[in-house]
Symmetry: C2
Subunit: 132 residues, 2 copies
């Protein structure tokens, strides 16, 4: 890529990261929230598949590298403050490591003021079958 201006526009945080929202283009479901750095965003644009920065593993994370559950990039959007990204993707398989379509599966059930997070989406595949 000829210049880095498009990367310099982004308001990276102190760790050199910004959050990325990933949305499934076919179901419109928000699949996950991940983090990305300059290198991962360049790689995403180059290869056409979502590459994030894994904060837990402290390394680049090509989504699906182990599970095969890759995310083909359809569109990328930057927000008005230049500090958050949105990936519109074609998701192969499941986005969540728990074997659910989306990572956002917990709902706050309110029973007379007693609130509990309840898993409301089904597990479609056992994690042990995803990560062998």
């Amino acid at each position: 890529m000829k210049n880095q201006d498009w990367l310099n526009v982004i308001q990276w945080n102190e760790q050199g990261l910004v959050p990325v929202i990933t949305q499934d283009i076919s179901t419109n479901r928000v699949l996950m929230l991940a983090w990305i750095n300059r290198t991962a965003l360049e790689k995403t644009l180059q290869c056409g598949e979502a590459v994030y920065w894994s904060r837990s593993r402290n390394r680049l994370w090509h989504k699906g590298e182990e599970s095969g559950h890759i995310q083909k990039i359809v569109d990328i959007r930057l927000d008005c403050d230049n500090d958050a990204l949105l990936f519109l993707v074609e998701q192969t398989g499941l986005a969540c490591h728990t074997g659910r379509l989306s990572c956002f599966y917990q709902h706050p059930e309110n029973t007379e003021g007693n609130i509990q997070w309840i898993a409301v989406d089904p597990v479609l595949k056992k994690p042990s079958e995803i990560y062998k």
Copy 2:
């Protein structure tokens, strides 16, 4: 609310915040990414409208308090790592302070390797008419 366990489950960052994705329930568009703290999340649940923590103003931010562009909560979801939230909302008016439906309106246009962020969504209302 009887107990705070549901708030203690959430993995707040060092600033006591987590990111919130806001999605429009009617159009399925991702509207914005904001930040929230314990108080703002409690208020959101109590009043049924999105209340965030404004990092720039360093105070609670009842979305629409000035513009009238409130977000009625339809569902709240917590992700698998307990460190990101998703609000599904009925958006009154426009989510973005630029007068666009969504804050995610910039697309990376690639002209022979020269990448530029281009605004691809229309301004539907002048900001000067939103904030008087």
